[in-house]
């Protein structure tokens, strides 16, 4: 009988082109997503060395980070110029490089345009059992479909463009098992924030994590993508969820997914990928869903997580002296005092979007809270940024845009937006934002901006009350 294998081992082994004596493997890459920020230097490297793209047919380019989320066409159907010359230059570079190297390119006004990690699954470009890379750390996202997906730097982008492979050493494996059932008001985002709090920001370093258990199995693909998306926030190389009927139902009929007999063959293969009984992970962490409440961050690392019912911690209460120091600096930056109830913290800005939480289900969850309500007077800026043109279209067909607009929120064009503020969407210095994005780092949403990471429903609740709020108080 063959040795039982984990999902990760099966995908890894299926992609080994060559293995060297020291254990380094040449791994074949099935899918490469390219955006404008981390690719210009890679294309330039190819040009200088006179190299071509080996497999343009496995590569898809789409702009997302720099694009303004305001209207892209004026009243006459003309392109609205991008005000920031550096952003414009970077976008133009991708628009030029993609055709020069024979790569398919989705332009900024195409309905298919969106955040790379929303576009990949939505188009059926991302498939179970594949290796997927992108010059973006949130590439782990696609692991929600059962793909081995991870972020790479620009040198590796160039390496994949030139060779369709990467030189890699195998990571360790970890199982994060979430047992039980989620309570009311608790979403996939709360689960992954909670996991990050439990593991710490470096708890997954050197590992590929497979998320398992009843909670994960019960999640939609949108929810699984949200969880895997933030694998990097607890340090993991990649996150994985075993593909199942939920996955196949999501992918069937998507434009780039296999069709007909090929679909059946693909599904049969994907079913064989699940971790075998008796396979051993290097580490196992079990989490009980009953311990997970609507969650929120208080500091400047995604590990700084509390249930919304919690209070701002006292730095001296941490056992680790370096964490005490980090917590003091975080609280100073965040302008928070130990002992403050999280629900007493006022916010001025709301951001609903990002590759973590901008899919249709996220927008539905936010709209369900906002329906028939208005944003609080102290909310100065509140934007909803759909993950793609197709998500936007779907939301409008369901009337979600009207709910947001009637509540006083702005309904924007798709892109990365205020998650990292490379485009004009930024949070002003010293102000707080309840944000559905993935990072609360110092200066992430703009210099001096103070980020509290939350779920879409919690961001909507904060919009209504003007402070961090337990969404259960508005929905039950």
């Amino acid at each position: 009988m063959p040795t039982p294998q984990t999902l990760y081992e099966k995908i890894w082994n299926a992609h080994v082109v060559e293995q060297r004596d020291d254990g380094t493997c040449l791994i074949f890459i099935d899918r490469h997503l390219v955006h404008e920020v981390t690719s210009p230097q890679a294309f330039e490297g190819l040009r200088v060395a006179g190299r071509r793209v080996r497999r343009p047919d496995l590569t898809l380019a789409v702009p997302d980070h720099n694009l303004p989320t305001t209207a892209r066409l004026d009243g006459n159907g003309q392109h609205v110029p991008i005000a920031d010359p550096e952003s414009a230059q970077q976008l133009e570079a991708l628009e030029r490089n993609a055709p020069e190297f024979g790569i398919a390119y989705i332009n900024a006004t195409d309905i298919k345009q969106g955040i790379v990690h929303v576009v990949g699954p939505e188009q059926g470009f991302s498939l179970p059992g594949t290796t997927i890379v992108c010059g973006d750390s949130h590439t782990a996202c696609h692991g929600g479909l059962g793909a081995l997906a991870f972020g790479i730097g620009t040198s590796e982008v160039e390496h994949v463009l030139a060779t369709q492979t990467l030189q890699l050493t195998r990571s360790k494996s970890m199982e994060v098992r979430v047992e039980g059932a989620l309570g009311p008001g608790v979403s996939a985002k709360d689960v992954v924030l909670h996991i990050t709090g439990v593991l710490g920001a470096s708890g997954g370093t050197g590992h590929v994590i497979e998320y398992t258990g009843a909670v994960i199995r019960a999640l939609s693909i949108e929810g699984r993508l949200t969880i895997s998306n933030m694998a990097i926030e607890h340090g993991a190389r990649a996150g994985l969820v075993a593909p199942d009927d939920t996955t196949f139902a999501y992918l069937k009929g998507r434009p780039m997914a296999p069709k007909g007999a090929q679909w059946d063959a693909a599904v049969a293969y994907w079913r064989s990928l699940a971790t075998d009984a008796g396979a051993v992970y290097d580490k196992v962490v079990t989490i009980n869903a009953a311990d997970i409440g609507p969650s929120v961050t208080w500091g400047t690392s995604p590990e700084d997580v509390l249930p919304i019912t919690g209070i701002v911690p006292d730095p001296s209460a941490f056992a680790d002296p370096s964490k005490q120091d980090a917590a003091r600096k975080s609280l100073a930056y965040m302008g928070l005092t130990p002992g403050t109830r999280m629900t007493d913290i006022e916010v001025q800005n709301i951001f609903i979007g990002s590759c973590t939480n901008s899919r249709i289900e996220d927008l539905r969850a936010a709209a369900a809270v906002l329906k028939g309500r208005k944003k609080a007077d102290n909310i100065k800026w509140a934007i909803v940024v759909p993950g793609s043109g197709l998500v936007k279209h779907q939301a409008e067909a369901e009337g979600l845009d009207r709910i947001f607009i009637d509540a006083g929120l702005e309904w924007r064009e798709p892109g990365c937006s205020a998650c990292l503020g490379m485009n004009p969407d930024k949070v002003p210095a010293g102000e707080r934002c309840a944000s559905t994005s993935n990072r609360n780092f110092v200066g992430r949403q703009g210099p001096g901006a103070r980020t509290h990471l939350v779920s879409p429903a919690m961001a909507a609740a904060a919009a209504v009350t003007g402070k961090l709020t337990d969404v259960r108080e508005l929905t039950t």
Binding site: D22, H65, Q90, G135, T154, Q262, A265, A326, L420, F441
Partner: protein, 197 residues
């Protein structure tokens, strides 16, 4: 990549844990289409604080940085490695690094050296007054006070760093193996080629 076998000089005693790549180089600096000139934006938020180590004349042009656990966490931006190299940093010593940063550092000949916290604490002390020496061949970090710390490094990475190997060039030598793999997999899993057009 330029070959690198040793680093000698002063070290910025930063010591912070979870130094993320947004701290190393904030997003507005990522709009460049070049690899150079990012040193100006390196550690921008930290440098706004008076008395920060980066602007302390005692550490001017130091080639080494000492940090806490999980250095380089967050974004995959290689701009973080480029910015540090542009600032004149050739090596970072920390108890752990994020996987992506460590790969990016390697590709740029920037040493990411892992030592236990006790060694970091000692080096933070030495860094206040004296030089630190890193030797890649013997995999050691030493000080003028007879401290000697041995570090681990992947043998392939060590070889590439010391010899300044062009990794793409190296992989291209395996072109035939890649072609063989492609032929095999397109027969076994024909649905793997996406319908992009």
């Amino acid at each position: 990549m330029k070959p690198i076998s040793s680093v000698n000089g002063r070290a910025y005693p930063l010591g912070l844990k979870n130094v993320d790549t947004d701290i190393i180089i904030p997003a507005p600096w990522l709009k460049t289409i070049s690899r150079s000139g990012l040193g100006k934006g390196a550690f921008e938020a930290l440098r706004e604080v008076p008395g920060n180590v980066f602007d302390d004349p005692a550490y001017a042009a130091a080639p080494i940085l000492i940090a806490g656990d999980n250095f380089g966490c967050g974004s995959s931006r290689e701009h973080a490695a480029w910015a540090m190299a542009d600032l004149g940093i050739s090596a970072v010593i920390a108890p752990s690094f994020s996987d992506i940063f460590s790969g990016n550092a390697f590709k740029n000949g920037l040493l990411a050296i892992v030592l236990p916290q006790a060694a970091i604490d000692r080096l933070m002390e030495v860094a206040q007054t004296d030089n630190i020496h890193i030797d890649l061949e013997t995999q050691t970090v030493t000080t003028p006070f007879q401290d000697r710390f041995v570090f681990e490094i992947d043998p392939f990475r060590k070889h590439c760093l010391i010899n300044g190997v062009d990794e793409i060039g190296l992989t291209l030598k395996s072109s035939d193996a890649i072609s063989t793999y492609e032929t095999k997999i397109s027969a076994q899993q024909p649905w793997l080629t996406p319908n992009i057009a």
